[in-house]
């Protein structure tokens, strides 16, 4: 049962892969396959001609008459040469086409995966390790390359040769063919045994590499801590142990793989000897030959030397190809596994978007009504088509209302209970609470990284489920605690917030965010290249750039999730002043640990275990003497 399940699953993967290959190259692929088939067939033919030439030499060599012999031999060699030329042409065409197809297909896969990934919901990234996602692009693509560029052509070619050689062999002698096939069965058996062992250890090696990598990663990241504690020797000890395990697995895996080649090859050699001996015995014993050729002719002949010798060569060719096939076993198993993982990513459910309310530029019409327009006016409106065919426009103001919202990341385990928040345009709403109280979750819901379970969220009076996701998110500026910058200049990174922003606009945003000063002090100012998530900047500086990035988008609603946590309070005050100016008349959501960051908010919500337990302004909350007051006076810990 177990064995049955494997092949069908893999068969499906293989079929799908082939379908995709065909879809990608509907012309080139068949041409290439034809080339492979052709070159495989032409590879078997020369052996026959070669044999004929040698047979002719045997006939003529006693005569010593080359002129006469050449009349017979040279045309045969000419045909052989002709076959060689054709074979060369097809092989050249095949290898060139294969290179194009392999790389082209890998590229298509890579792009398809990346595009698919962009459409996946945030929950996918929250529930999958980044290393695992990355390995689709590195390891899995790599195994796929092996599979397509080497295993497939070898598979096609070798099978064709094996089939055609079998036919020819059957034509010559059934008995001896049976001996060869018996030997091949043994070879296949060995391949499965050893190949299976090797595959097992390769998987183990893979796991050991993963483990080592994890350990090394942790140690390299913590290298400075190790230094400070002079803990080098202990780490070395741990490392040695893991290293030893990796050595054992890697050693075994490679030893198995290395043994397979000589094993198959020498079984081939022994098979050759057996055939030769059996042939010799049959010859001497004058056993009648049973062959398809003879059956067709309707007469049984005695086995002759002319049959035994070519048979030996064919045995060699046969086993040589079985050997090649066995060498590809690993590639095939690993390649299909890689393809399976890639397909799993491709089959992930993408983020759905049934939103139909879109964001458009607008201006005031003659009667103060909202008129949609193409050009940038600094005003936006929600374009809301209704079922009855009418169209209404609502001015984008940034009024956000959460009404009795329930939500859980895992069904049945709610992290938000009955949360209601009203933010009118111009309001600054702050969330305070322990880790896991649900602060970040609320922001995840507003921009629909996750969808609510129960309740309603309205944006300017429109249910956010009706708003097209990209438009919804464009209207929300987002600054997160964990800053992610992209490789590129500082200017590029700020411009990410609004691709069509001019340099001046970006600089203006940087000034607002309080980032301008330090940027100008960088070696190349705004043209300084940032790599590795801005590793050459401090955490605080990165946050300032992230704020500038959000500021340049000039959004009606801003969400700042611990956005200033690594910025000192003096700089923070500057940033806050800038942001308050920018967000005048618009709404801001602030999540912060430092109470000094949230103190001047219009309303502060204290969250506890997914419920809002207190709400009010700083002064009101202090006066109320509740949890917030305790927090403020330091009588209570935020964790």
């Amino acid at each position: 049962m177990k064995q049955r399940k494997g092949p069908t699953g893999q068969g499906k993967i293989l079929l799908r892969l082939l379908k995709m290959l065909f879809a990608a190259y509907p012309v080139l692929l068949p041409v290439t396959v034809c080339c492979i088939v052709f070159s495989a067939v032409t590879a078997t033919m020369p052996a026959i001609f070669q044999q004929q030439v040698i047979a002719q030499i045997e006939i003529w060599y006693q005569s010593g008459d080359w002129t006469a012999a050449s009349q017979v031999i040279l045309p045969k060699i000419a045909v052989l040469a002709g076959l060689y030329v054709i074979s060369l042409l097809t092989i050249t065409a095949e290898t060139q086409l294969m290179a194009t197809i392999t790389q082209g297909f890998l590229n298509k896969m890579r792009c398809a995966m990346f595009k698919k990934m962009q459409d996946l919901p945030i929950s996918y990234f929250d529930t999958h390790k980044h290393g695992d996602i990355m390995s689709h692009y590195t390891n899995d693509i790599d195994t796929l390359r092996q599979l397509i560029s080497q295993a497939f052509p070898t598979l096609i070619r070798a099978s064709i040769i094996v089939v055609s050689v079998t036919c020819i062999m059957l034509y010559y002698s059934i008995w001896m063919t049976l001996v060869v096939l018996l030997g091949v069965c043994f070879m296949i058996f060995v391949t499965r045994k050893i190949g299976g062992g090797s595959a097992k250890y390769f998987m183990r090696q893979q796991a050991a590499i993963g483990k080592t990598e994890g350990f090394i990663q942790e140690m390299m990241n913590g290298q400075k801590v190790i230094k400070v504690f002079c803990h080098e020797e202990e780490c070395q000890k741990d490392f040695d142990q893991i290293n030893e395990e990796l050595f054992q697995d890697s050693f075994r895996a490679n030893a198995f793989a290395n043994c397979l080649g000589p094993l198959i090859q020498n079984i081939g050699n022994i098979l050759y000897v057996i055939i030769a001996t059996v042939g010799g015995i049959l010859l001497i014993a004058q056993v009648p030959n049973l062959s398809l050729g003879a059956l067709a002719a309707g007469s049984l002949t005695v086995l002759t030397i002319d049959i035994v010798i070519p048979f030996l060569n064919m045995t060699k060719q046969f086993t040589g190809n079985v050997n090649q096939l066995s060498q590809q076993m690993n590639s095939i198993v690993m390649g299909l596994a890689g393809a399976g993982r890639i397909f799993r990513l491709m089959d992930e459910q993408p983020e759905t978007d049934e939103g139909y309310v879109t964001l458009v530029n607008c201006k005031a019409g003659e009667n103060d009504e909202i008129v949609e327009c193409e050009e940038f006016t600094g005003w936006w409106a929600w374009r809301h088509p209704h079922h009855d065919g009418t169209l209404t426009y609502t001015l984008l103001e940034g009024d956000i209302r959460l009404h009795e919202v329930d939500f859980g990341y895992v069904p049945g385990k709610n992290v938000l209970h009955d949360v209601s928040v009203y933010a009118e345009p111009g309001d600054k709403v702050a969330f305070v609470g322990a880790t896991g109280a649900g602060k970040t979750t609320i922001t995840n819901l507003i921009n629909r990284f996750y969808d609510i379970e129960d309740g309603k969220i309205r944006f300017d009076g429109i249910n956010i489920n009706k708003i097209k996701k990209s438009d919804l998110r464009r209207s929300l500026g987002l600054v997160l605690q964990e800053t992610n910058l992209f490789t590129g200049t500082v200017m590029d990174n700020i411009r990410y917030g609004k691709l069509e922003a001019t340099d001046e606009a970006c600089i203006k945003a940087a000034r607002l965010a309080g980032a301008h000063d330090f940027i100008t002090r960088l070696p190349k100012g705004y043209d300084t290249m940032l790599t590795n998530n801005g590793a050459n900047l401090s955490q605080g500086q990165r946050q300032l750039i992230a704020i500038a990035r959000a500021a340049v988008a000039d959004p009606p609603v801003m969400i700042m999730d611990e956005a200033t946590s690594s910025i000192d309070t003096r700089t923070e005050a500057i940033v806050q002043k800038g942001m308050d100016k920018l967000m005048e008349g618009r709404s801001t959501f602030v999540i912060a640990h430092r109470l000094s960051t949230v103190m001047n908010s219009d309303v502060i919500m204290v969250l506890d275990h997914g419920r809002i337990i207190e709400r009010g302004s700083h002064d009101q909350l202090i006066a109320a003497g509740g949890v917030y007051c305790q927090l403020y006076t330091g009588a209570f810990e935020l964790e």
Binding site: W60, S63, G64, A69, I77, A81, L88, I91, T92, A99, L106, N107, C111, K115, M117, D119, I122, F125, I209, T212, E218, M220, Q223, K224, V225, K227, V228, F229, F239, N243, E244, F251, N254, C259, P262, N266, A276, T277, G279, G280, L283, I284, I305, I309, L312, K469, D471, R473, R474, N484, L485, T487, Y496, F518, Q541, I567, D568, T569, R570, F636
Partner: protein, 579 residues
């Protein structure tokens, strides 16, 4: 470079040499097999007696089994040698990194070190295995086959005069053309993968700004570019097969034409049919060995990049050295900065620290406060000699830090880093970093002092709670307190907290400081903080600005005369609204 790397083979020299030995054995037998095979065929043809045929057959079978044994053993030893080489190399690189100072670590990014320790070493392992398996075998097979071909074929071997140089030249040309193309495209490919990683990590930003389509376009362009380059490079390499085939076919035709003429003209005296067959076999073997040699060449050039990167790590000299006659004992916790200037890189234009003059008495509590980028961290990192001052000197206990044994110094100066880290393992394991021999009671005591005991004891498994990688299962504040406890276990003379209580609430923060005052009064405590409250009661508060000490004094003094300090104070106590 190669010599340096090969020195890591170490105890795996034996399997390496054995591999050579087995490979020679296998090669010799493999070269002999066609010879005997020809004999067998001849006997069958001549209609020899069955026992002769059986005998030759048995010989051949024995040879095949011997060859199998040699081949299998070589496979075993070569796997052992290469995996062992990789193990040693990995160990050596890892231990080299352990000797690195902060300056060295800054130079290599941690992700690049991870790649070097994994992918690069695996590459080297693979090429090493390939080389030891074929480096002896292929040339040997080549020489042996050429000799046999001459012995058996005489004139016919003339074919190889053309094919060997032709193929060698052709293969070299292909690899030389393909190599640079591959190197270029691999670099691009790495960058592409980095940008994918960036995208995965920053997915919230991408989605938050609705930039999915922009990213797709950007990726498609970059990937398309790489695809073009890859295809070009692969297509050059793809010429290897036809090249090989041309030579093979040429040899066949040559041998058959000239051979048949010779055999027939001389009536089989100069050459017989068996020899022709053998020639064809040897021709194949010669060309195969050439092919293998060219593959080694390709493999080596491919892994050259990896070797270079490993070598870089191995020859990187630790920036700090232990002095000749180190001072092993730190007398007390006093600290002096005398005319200290510091920059991170020799080439940097600006000093990160300039003209620092500061004296701290043993047992003092010192607060350091200042804006982002004011070099607070830089200042304290000079105390446990994580970096050396560019000019001037830093003294601990009256002795220049450069004169101490580094380990003794760092054991006396405990530092809780800003970007701190717990390691996967139990809480106990983590705490014992501070003191290997610490008893459970000592652990608890340190945790009480760091205000960590209370929450640790609420965990179901207490001190045996397993901390996940990166400490993801404890909160920021808890992590910080555990890190402080870990540092306390060292019983240091000087304790440095670099913004280590930022995620701890004010009340606990105060309790920690109170504990310090009461239980470790003789320890010098340096506290970098953003909150005034954290440093308010310090004996000395240092205000830093732009890499220099702007002012130093007690809270009251600074409130009177230091504008920056007043600013910060106002900011934190009143809140923004009243401004």
């Amino acid at each position: 470079m190669i010599k340096r790397l090969l020195s890591s083979v170490g105890e795996y020299k034996k399997p390496t040499i054995l591999t050579f030995f087995f490979m020679v054995g296998e090669a010799v037998i493999e070269c002999l097999i066609p010879f005997i095979t020809a004999e067998l065929v001849n006997r069958i043809k001549a209609g020899a007696e069955i026992r002769f045929i059986l005998f030759t057959g048995l010989c051949l079978a024995l040879m095949a089994i011997t060859s199998l044994c040699f081949g299998g053993l070589a496979g075993y030893t070569s796997a052992k040698a290469s995996a062992g080489f990789a193990k040693n190399l990995r160990r050596e690189v890892f231990s080299r990194i352990q000797t690195y100072t902060f300056e060295n670590i800054d130079k290599f990014s941690s992700s690049s070190l991870v790649t070097r320790l994994t992918t690069d070493i695996t590459n080297i392992q693979m090429s090493y295995m390939m080389v030891i398996r074929t480096a002896v075998r292929s040339p040997l097979m080549l020489v042996f086959s050429v000799i046999m071909a001459y012995l058996m074929g005489g004139k016919l071997a003339g074919a190889f005069v053309f094919t060997i140089p032709f193929l060698t030249f052709g293969l070299l040309m292909v690899s030389r053309k393909a190599m640079p193309a591959f190197r270029r495209v691999f670099r691009k490919y790495d960058r592409l993968n980095e940008s994918i990683e960036e995208n995965v990590r920053g997915m919230r930003v991408v989605k938050g700004f609705a930039r999915e389509d922009y990213e797709k376009e950007k990726f498609e362009r970059a990937a398309g570019d790489i695809c073009t380059d890859f295809t070009k490079a692969e297509r050059i390499v793809a010429f290897n097969t036809p090249l090989m085939q041309i030579c093979l076919y040429f040899t066949m035709i040559f041998v058959l034409t000239v051979g048949s003429q010779t055999v027939i003209s001389s009536m089989g005296l100069d050459l017989d049919v068996g020899q022709i067959s053998a020639m064809l076999t040897y021709g194949m073997q010669i060309l195969m060995s050439l092919m293998m040699l060219s593959m080694i060449y390709v493999m080596l050039t491919m892994s050259a990049e990896s070797m270079k990167r490993i070598h870089e790590v191995l020859v990187e000299e630790p920036a700090l050295r232990n002095p000749e006659e180190p001072v092993m004992e730190v007398a007390d916790g006093s600290i002096d900065f005398e005319g200290v200037n510091f920059k991170y890189a020799q080439t940097a234009e600006q000093y990160a620290l300039s003209n620092v003059e500061l004296h701290i008495d043993s047992g003092m509590t010192v607060g350091i406060i200042g804006g982002t980028g004011s070099s607070k961290t830089t200042l304290v990192q000079l105390i446990p000699r994580l970096y050396d001052a560019t000019t001037g000197c830093v003294k601990v206990g009256g002795v220049d830090v450069r004169n101490y044994d580094i380990k003794s110094l760092r054991n006396s100066v405990a530092m809780v880093l800003q970007k701190n880290q717990l390691f996967s393992g139990t809480i106990k394991d983590n705490l014992r970093w501070g003191n290997e021999q610490a008893t459970d009671a000592q652990l608890e005591e340190a945790c009480r002092l760091a205000q960590a005991h209370e929450f640790v004891s609420t965990f179901p498994e207490g001190y045996d709670t397993y901390i996940e990688q990166g400490g993801s299962n404890v909160s920021g504040g808890q992590k910080q307190r555990l890190c402080i406890a870990r540092a306390l276990l060292k019983k240091p003379r000087i304790l440095i907290l670099d913004d280590s209580t930022s995620a701890v609430d004010t009340k606990t923060d105060a309790l920690i400081r109170k504990g310090f005052r009461e239980f470790i009064p003789e320890t010098t405590k340096i506290i970098i903080a953003q909150r005034i409250a954290s440093v308010e009661e310090a004996d000395l508060i240092v205000v830093m600005e732009g890499g220099a000490i702007s002012d130093a004094g007690t809270h009251d003094q600074l409130m009177e005369r230091c504008e920056i300090y007043q600013d910060i104070y106002r900011q934190q106590t009143k809140g923004g609204k009243d401004q």
